[in-house]
Each structure stands twice: as structure tokens, then as C-alpha cells.
């Protein structure tokens, strides 16, 4: 396969939209897809049965009493109802007390005999865990792998303990994977951790949901990603592919091969069709910069900072800086805290691809960011063979 065919393959895999989420039809709880999920569900169900029992007890007694002791107006009151009964009251004080002590202990320590996984087990990752870093920012996730790969969706090896170190670039977020029963806030200025052991592989056609569970503003409800669990060999192939896909694209094809694959990271805030989102639209961006007419929040105009001999020699340099240091020069009427740095998430090649895309914006679909000239590419037939080659959405 030629290099360009590989790149096309990668591009086609971006449209991995046919994959479906893994759901359950159960009354309670989603599918259990981590090794401890069943142990947690056991606890949930145990508490549920307790709830059913006490709910039924109270409701039935209430209905019976309310029906049996109804008294019409004007009837002489019976006065034989007890006003208190110490042994009875102590009984219904002590029984719940014992129950909650048991529940607390099971919730904390678990019990292998009852098949309950305790909280302690959730907080201690095994030493041999595969380590991933998750960086949350408004409103994207970046999952960083040990070899430097940064991915938008979460890919995991199957049947292995995984430890995810969590941080945030801006406000509070929370990493939540319902099918794994894990959740952890991403607190800026702190590191957090979740660990779990994956179960069966999902392949690339099915995935688990990953949500942001802590309110973080406009894009909060769309800050969800997919979790693919791959058998170890597939995972390794994916990881290797991811590490090199950008480098394998010839420089002149970069903007239309890599650009559309990188754009999803940007699209929550930057439109291609000129509509106003959290950040400025990319439409006409290069023209505005070259004309120098736009203004920044601090009152300076583009002309003041961009141009030969100024802070940024040209538009490319300014845009690169906006990606790596977005709070340096903020375009007028936009939030100074709207964007967080992509330093460490996009390398120079990736930034080059994005700038290239901005410069050739008329070649892309203004809604989806898809490259419109794709059909004319001679290498197109390679697309069908792509997934087997291990190429995958970034």
C-alpha cells in the first residue's frame, strides 16, 4: 500500500460513524463491561431489594391503617392508640442502624463472599496497569498514550488493568464511563485517577459511552467520546498507526488528509460556515488576518501585532501561537478564557495541517469539514481495505 493510500485509509476511518453504542435493556443499570462492574451492580441490587422491602412495608401499612381507621366526622374519637412504645421504637431505631452499618462496610470494603466489590478496590490500581493520561478542556478530551499518541476517542487494550490519570486545563470536568462504572472529576491544578480492568473487546464497530459528568458550560452535553476496547494485537496496531499517521502523509497532501481528521477537536468552538460559536469562525479567518482589520480584546488591531518586524511575522505564526497560547491575544468580543492550550496535543505537523485547511477552506464542506475533492483522488478504492489495515480514527 502506498503512503497516500494509507492516509486515505485513515481518512475514511474518520467516518467511523457506523459504530454503535453498547446499551442494556435492563430496568436498572447499563451493561457491565469492566471486571468490577458486576461486583458494584451486586451492591446496587442489594440496596435496591432493601429499598423495595421497606417501601412496601411502609406503603402497605399506611394504606391498611388509612383505610381501617377512617372515622366519619362527628364520630366519638377512640383514644386507645398508643402514644409511644419504647421497645418498638428502639427496634426500628436499631434495625436500620445495623443495616446501614452493614451497607457502609460493604460499600467501603466489599465482600468476596457476597460478590461485592468495595470502594477500596476502586481506588487502588494494580502496579502493572496500562497508563493513559486524560486531559479535559472546554470541550474536548485528549487521551495521551505512553508512546506520545494523542487520541480524541479512548482506545483500550482488552482484558488488562488500565489506569487513567486525569487532569483539566480549565474548569471542572468529570470522566464518566457508565459501562465501566467509573467516574472522577477533572480538577484543574490537581491530578485524579481512575482505574478499571477492561473486559471483552468491543472491536471498532461497537463502543462504550464516555461522558463529561461535571457541568462545564456550553459544550458540556457534547463533551462525550467513544471508548473502543480492542484485543491486544489490534490495539498495538492502532497505536503504532496513530504514532505515525501524520508523518506518513506527504507535506503537500497534509491539509486535506490530516486537516479534516484534526478538525473535530476544534469544531465545538470554531465553525467553518461563518456562524458564531464560542470562538471565531475559520471562514475568512486568513483574509481577516492578512487584511489586519480585526481587533483584539485589549484594543490592539491585527495590524499592530502581525506583519514583518512585528510580534508575528505572518498569519501562520499568529495562528500557531493562538493554538499553543490561546489566551495571549484574544479576538475582540470573545471570551479570554474560552480556549485552553493545545500544547502537547498537536505537534507542528498537525498545526501545519490545520493552518493549511484554513487557507483552503473552500475545498471543504462547511458543515462537516469533509474534503470535497475526495472523489477525484485516484487512490480512493483503497478505502474499503482500510479498517483491516489497522488504520483508525485518530
Amino acid at each position: 500500500m502506498t503512503l497516500s493510500a494509507l492516509a486515505i485509509a485513515a481518512l475514511s476511518a474518520t467516518a467511523n460513524s457506523s459504530a454503535t453504542p453498547i446499551l442494556s435493556d435492563d430496568f436498572w443499570l447499563p451493561p457491565a463491561a469492566s471486571t468490577f462492574a458486576d461486583g458494584l451492580d451486586q451492591m446496587f441490587n442489594f440496596i435496591n431489594w432493601l429499598c423495595y422491602f421497606f417501601f412496601a412495608l411502609i406503603t402497605v401499612l399506611m394504606v391498611i391503617f388509612a383505610a381501617k381507621y377512617r372515622a366519619p366526622k362527628g364520630h366519638t374519637f377512640r383514644m386507645d392508640g398508643p402514644t409511644h412504645h419504647l421497645p418498638m421504637e428502639l427496634t426500628w431505631l436499631v434495625i436500620p442502624l445495623i443495616l446501614v452499618i452493614v451497607i457502609f462496610w460493604l460499600g467501603f470494603a466489599g465482600s468476596s463472599r457476597l460478590g461485592v466489590e468495595g470502594y477500596v478496590g476502586l481506588t487502588t490500581a494494580p502496579r502493572n496497569s496500562y497508563e493513559i493520561t486524560a486531559v479535559a478542556s472546554k470541550w474536548t478530551w485528549a487521551f495521551k498514550y505512553p508512546n506520545g499518541v494523542v487520541s480524541d476517542d479512548l482506545y483500550l487494550p482488552a482484558g488488562e488493568p488500565i489506569k487513567i490519570t486525569i487532569r483539566s486545563e480549565d474548569v471542572l470536568h468529570a470522566l464518566f464511563i457508565p459501562n465501566f462504572r467509573v467516574k472522577r472529576d477533572c480538577v484543574p491544578g490537581r491530578y485524579g485517577m481512575v482505574w478499571f480492568q477492561t473486559d471483552e473487546p468491543t472491536g471498532r464497530s461497537r463502543y462504550h459511552h464516555l461522558f463529561c459528568a461535571e457541568y462545564c458550560g456550553t459544550g458540556h452535553s457534547n463533551m462525550n467520546r467513544r471508548v473502543f476496547v480492542l484485543a491486544r494485537p489490534d490495539f498495538d496496531a492502532w497505536l503504532a498507526k496513530e504514532a505515525s499517521w501524520l508523518d506518513e502523509i506527504p507535506a503537500e497532501e497534509l491539509y486535506f488528509r490530516a486537516g479534516p481528521r484534526l478538525y473535530p477537536r476544534c469544531q465545538t468552538c470554531h465553525s467553518l460556515d461563518g456562524s458564531r460559536l464560542t470562538g471565531p469562525s475559520w471562514k475568512g479567518l486568513i483574509d481577516r488576518v492578512n487584511e489586519g482589520s480585526g481587533k483584539f480584546l485589549d484594543g490592539k488591531s491585527y495590524r499592530d501585532v502581525i506583519g514583518p518586524g512585528k510580534e508575528f511575522a505572518n498569519a501562520d505564526e499568529y495562528i500557531r501561537d493562538s493554538i499553543l497560547n490561546p489566551q495571549g491575544h484574544v479576538v475582540d468580543t470573545y471570551s479570554p478564557t474560552g480556549m485552553s492550550t493545545f500544547k502537547g496535543q498537536l505537534n507542528d505537523t498537525a498545526i501545519e495541517a490545520i493552518i493549511g485547511m484554513m487557507k483552503h477552506l473552500d475545498e471543504f464542506d462547511p458543515k462537516t469539514g469533509k474534503w470535497l475533492k475526495e472523489g477525484s483522488t485516484p487512490a480512493a478504492p483503497a478505502t474499503t481495505a482500510a479498517p483491516a489495515a489497522g488504520a483508525e480514527k485518530k
Binding site: 436498572w28 458494584l40 432493601l50 460499600g107 480538577v187 491544578g189 463529561c212 474560552g338
Partner: protein, 572 residues
């Protein structure tokens, strides 16, 4: 019975005269500057119910938006975010916190004590105007660009969001806090100093125990919220780093401060509701409340425990495992006094003389809803199950069962209970009970689905959601419409009674405490002299009087008030 009336103290004069608190003086200023606790209570009630209407409209907007994934009635996620923030902030700070203590408590507390007014009537009026001021700031914040922080104002989002309404609304909540503190202080002093002869601590109606416990929390916890909000304002306006990491602060510190108030605040909301329910069960069962002391102590226990459990809001926020474990253990302690109350209320029905009145329907609804709300709290206090359920609709459902299904239902129940006393009119009971049933059904459709939704992993505060959650959302939204129609029916039922209702007797339900022994509506001074009281849950001296279509409290039958009273069977 007629012979008993020979004793002048036998029945307090309950004949409604033309001079009652509503007609005592006229004109706008006679209300705006009134020192009469009853008028202040009524003004609070109007304010609270108006806020409830506004908060309810936001709730319906939210539910309607959630009918479909993505855009339904607004294409802008920010608008949705503002709606849920306003819904939460209005319902918590303007409705539930002041509803029972400030509105019901103000009206009922001094009358229950047989007092003329609260201890500090001027402070009471000041509290009310502070409440109005706080509410105006909330309105002002909308004009300044609204806010989208959630009612919790979590940093760093609240210090960095672009919306201009954050500082005004935080100032508003700060002011509302003082309104709450002053009301609490007033009630503590009133209960300590103005109890009538014969009313020892363990003779107080349980509503007063609840209000007293609540007042203690209000006085002790609210200042913490005040200082936290001040720090937030300082950080947002002049950039002093306390909570925001980029300024050297710690966002988790804000959560600790916030929940140190806001968890006790949950009990500020529910405790008075429990107090009302104790009254409703006793009065409408015409039977001594079962286990008075346990209920009274459990109110105090809840008030104390409420200060020790705030960390359970932060199990996944980055607290240490040890702290989480300790908070989980302490959180379970709240289950005990709550369970005691539920069992004692149920036992109060046993061998009672139950009238299925509208207030009783609310009390029974409360019992069911609070049982569900309380039991699902176990899932959330348990460490390992909370990790999955935290910040999902399961939590939303849980706290709506407690805050709305319990606290608010108790408030509406209390409103129906004391409405004849407040207005001097009886509402249509069939309509009132029907509305209660509609609300009950609608409530469960709305929120029980949300337990399922949350357990399947739907996070809260989502404008958009995955298609598989839609069926739950549609059912939930339909439930909210049912509930809304129930509330509209309730509003019609109560308001129409002012014009259409028959005159209320002094004691329409057969209550025993002092507020049922003064005319409906009460005169300006409540009682000519502070009456002596006996056991306020002893219903043996409550008798039905056909010609008044109401009950009277025949004090001559009470051995504590009349040594010559006939001995009765079943006395304790």
C-alpha cells in the same frame, strides 16, 4: 357539652369578628410596614409562591427542551444552561428555604405559642424586605446578562464564565442568607422566651421543634455561605486567588465551603416539612402523635448530623479515600432519625380517627415520596455505588423526591392545613384532594423515570443527549405536564375559595394546638391573653360541633387545664 361552657376558660372565644388581622388596617403601607407576623407570613407566602411559579415555568421549559435530543425549543445550549441554573437557584434560595420557616412559620409559630407576635417584630419585617432585596438582585442579574453556573456556583467556571449576572446573583444570595439568619434568630428567641404557661419543651407542637432545629442550622450555617460567596465575588472582580488554580487557589476548597452550608441547607428545607407532616398526621388522625420524644429528638439529631456530612457531595471530586470513607459513614447516620420519623408517622395512623382530608392526602403523599427519596439516599451514601450514580439523573431524581416530593409537598400540605386559618375560607375539598392525587401521580412519572435514566448513565445538566435516553425523557416530560396541571388545579382551588369558599370555622380539622383555638382568620393580637396549654396532642377534648361545621377544643375536658375533668380511658 353546654354545661361545660359555664366555665369561662372552657372554650376560648373563637367567634370570628369583623376585626381580624386582614381587616385590622388598610392601605399598602399597612402591609408593607406591618409588624404583624401574620401579615409578614402572608407576604412571604405571596413572594414564595410567585417565585415557585417562575421556577416552575423554568422547570417546564427544561422538560420541554429535553423532549428530543439536540434542539427542541431552543437551539442554544447556553439558554438551556441558564434555565436550569435559574430553576435551581430560584427553587432553592427563593422558594424552598424560605417557604416553610418564613411563610408558614411566621404565620403559625406565634399563634401556636399563644403569643402576640415573634420576639423581634421589626427584625422580622427587615428579614422580609431583605428577602425582597435578594430577589430583586436575582432579577437584576438577568438584566445584567444572566448566569449559567448552576445553582452551586462551582469555581473556576463561575469565576471565568462570560455571563455578567454572576456577581449580582451572588450578592442576591448573600442578602437572602441574611434574611434567613435573621428569621432563624428570631424564631430561636421566640421559642425560648415566649412559650405559654404549661408549654414545656416537650409540650411544644412538633412543628415548633422542627422550626427550632431549622433555625439553629440557619443561624450557624448560613454565615459560612455568606463568606464563601464574598470570597467568590472578590476573586471574580479583583482576582484574589482563593479558589481558582490559575490564581493559586483550590477549586475543591470552594466545594467544601459551599457544601458546609448547602448540606445543612438541605435540612433547612426538609426539617420544617417534617414538622408540618407531624402536625398533619396527628391532627387529621385525631390521635396523639406516636413517639413524641423520638420525633422531637430526631429533629435535633438531624440538625446536628447535618453539619457533619457535607463531604458526600464530593466523593468523586478528589478528596482522599480516608475522608470519603469517614463522610460515607457519617452520612448513614442521617438515615436513623429519618427512619424513626417515618415509622413513627406510620404508627400514628394506627388506631387513629382518620379524616381523609386534603392535608391528609398530602401527608400520605409525603410519606410515600419521602420513603423513596430517603431510601435512594442509601445508594448515594454508599461509596462504591455512588461512584457510578454521582452527577447523574439518579441524583437529580433523589433530591427532587426529597426537596420537592417531600419538602414542597409538605409545604403545600401545610398550606392546605392552615389555609382556612389564614383566609377564613374553606376550599373545595374534592378539588383539593384531586389536585393532590394528580400532583402525586405526575411527580412519580416525572422523577421515577429519572432514577432509571440516571442508573443507565445519563449525566445531569445535559442540553443534548444520546438517542437511547429519549423514551425516558419523553415520559418524564409528560409527567411534568401532569404535575403542572395538578398545581394549576391547586392554585384554582385555593384562590377561588377566597371568593367562593364557605366561611371557615375556627377549627375545621379538629386540631388541638393553640392556632385552632383562635378565630379564623385570627384577630390582630391572636389571643386577648396568652392561654395556658395542656398536651397539644391530646385529642380527647376535641369534639365535633355540628352547628359550626367544625370542631372545638373543650378545655374543661383536659385534666391539666381543669382538675375536675372526668378521667378518661387510655390516658397515658
Amino acid at each position: 357539652m353546654t354545661t361545660i361552657n359555664a366555665n369561662p376558660d372552657a372554650v376560648l372565644d373563637t367567634h370570628a369578628s369583623s376585626d381580624n388581622y386582614l381587616t385590622h388596617s388598610r392601605g399598602f403601607l399597612s402591609w408593607a410596614l406591618t409588624l404583624d407576623h401574620k401579615r409578614i407570613g402572608v407576604m412571604y407566602l405571596v413572594g414564595v409562591l410567585t417565585s415557585f411559579l417562575v421556577g416552575g415555568i423554568f422547570a417546564l421549559l427544561l422538560r420541554t427542551e429535553l423532549l428530543t435530543p439536540g434542539a427542541t425549543i431552543t437551539a442554544d445550549a447556553n439558554t438551556y444552561n441558564q434555565w436550569f441554573t435559574l430553576h435551581g437557584a430560584i427553587m432553592v434560595f427563593l422558594v424552598i428555604i424560605p417557604s416553610i420557616p418564613a411563610a408558614m412559620g411566621n404565620f403559625v409559630l406565634p399563634i401556636m405559642l399563644g403569643a402576640k407576635d415573634v420576639a423581634f417584630p421589626r427584625l422580622n419585617l427587615f428579614s422580609f424586605w431583605l428577602w425582597v432585596g435578594g430577589a430583586l438582585f436575582a432579577v437584576f442579574s438577568l438584566w445584567r446578562g444572566a448566569f449559567d453556573t448552576g445553582w452551586t456556583f462551582y469555581v473556576p467556571y463561575s469565576t471565568t464564565t462570560e455571563m455578567g449576572g454572576v456577581v449580582p446573583v451572588v450578592v442576591g444570595v448573600f442578602i437572602l442568607g441574611f434574611s434567613s439568619i435573621f428569621t432563624g434568630m428570631n424564631f430561636v428567641v421566640t421559642i425560648h422566651k415566649l412559650r405559654p404557661p404549661g408549654m414545656t419543651w416537650f409540650r411544644m407542637p412538633l412543628f415548633l421543634w422542627a422550626i427550632y432545629s431549622t433555625a439553629l442550622i440557619q443561624v450557624l450555617a448560613t454565615p459560612v455561605l455568606a463568606i464563601t460567596l464574598l470570597l467568590l465575588i472578590v476573586e471574580r472582580t479583583i482576582g484574589i486567588g482563593i479558589f481558582t488554580p490559575s490564581l493559586g487557589g483550590d477549586p475543591v476548597l470552594f466545594q467544601h465551603f459551599f457544601w458546609f452550608y448547602s448540606h445543612p441547607a438541605v435540612y433547612i428545607m426538609i426539617l420544617p416539612g417534617m414538622g408540618i407532616i407531624s402536625e398533619l398526621f396527628a391532627v387529621h388522625s385525631h390521635r396523639h402523635i406516636f413517639g413524641y420524644r423520638f420525633i422531637a429528638y430526631s429533629s435535633v439529631a438531624i440538625a446536628i448530623f447535618s453539619f457533619l456530612v457535607w463531604g458526600h457531595h464530593m466523593f468523586v471530586s478528589g478528596q482522599s479515600v480516608l475522608i470519603n470513607t469517614i463522610f460515607s459513614a457519617i452520612s448513614f447516620s442521617v438515615a436513623i432519625p429519618s427512619a424513626v420519623k417515618v415509622f413513627n408517622w406510620t404508627a400514628t395512623l394506627y388506631k387513629g380517627n382518620i379524616s381523609l382530608t386534603t392535608p391528609m392526602f398530602y401527608a400520605l403523599s409525603f410519606l410515600v415520596l419521602f420513603t423513596i427519596g430517603g431510601l435512594t439516599g442509601i445508594h448515594l451514601a454508599t461509596l462504591n455505588t455512588d461512584v457510578h450514580l454521582h452527577d447523574t439523573y439518579f441524583v437529580v431524581a433523589h433530591f427532587h423526591y426529597v426537596m420537592m416530593g417531600s419538602a414542597l409537598i409538605a409545604m403545600i400540605g401545610g398550606l392546605h392545613h392552615w389555609w382556612p386559618k389564614m383566609t377564613g375560607r374553606m376550599y373545595n375539598e374534592t378539588l383539593g384532594s384531586l389536585a393532590c392525587i394528580i400532583i402525586f401521580v405526575g411527580f412519580n412519572i416525572t422523577f421515577f423515570t429519572q432514577f432509571m435514566l440516571g442508573s443507565h448513565g445519563m449525566p445531569r445538566r445535559y442540553y443534548d443527549y444520546k438517542p437511547e435516553y429519549q423514551s425516558y425523557h419523553v415520559i418524564s416530560t409528560i409527567g411534568s405536564y401532569v404535575m403542572a396541571s395538578g398545581f394549576l388545579l391547586t392554585a384554582w382551588c385555593l384562590l377561588s375559595s377566597i371568593w367562593l369558599g364557605r366561611r371557615a370555622p375556627a377549627n375545621p380539622w379538629g386540631g388541638r394546638s393553640l392556632e385552632w383555638q383562635c378565630p379564623s382568620p385570627p384577630p390582630h393580637d391572636n389571643f386577648p391573653v396568652q392561654p395556658r396549654v395542656g398536651d397539644c396532642y391530646d385529642f380527647s377534648c376535641v369534639v365535633w360541633k355540628e352547628e359550626e361545621q367544625g370542631y372545638i377544643v373543650d378545655r374543661s375536658l383536659d385534666p391539666e387545664l381543669n382538675p375536675n375533668a372526668p378521667k378518661r380511658a387510655g390516658a397515658h
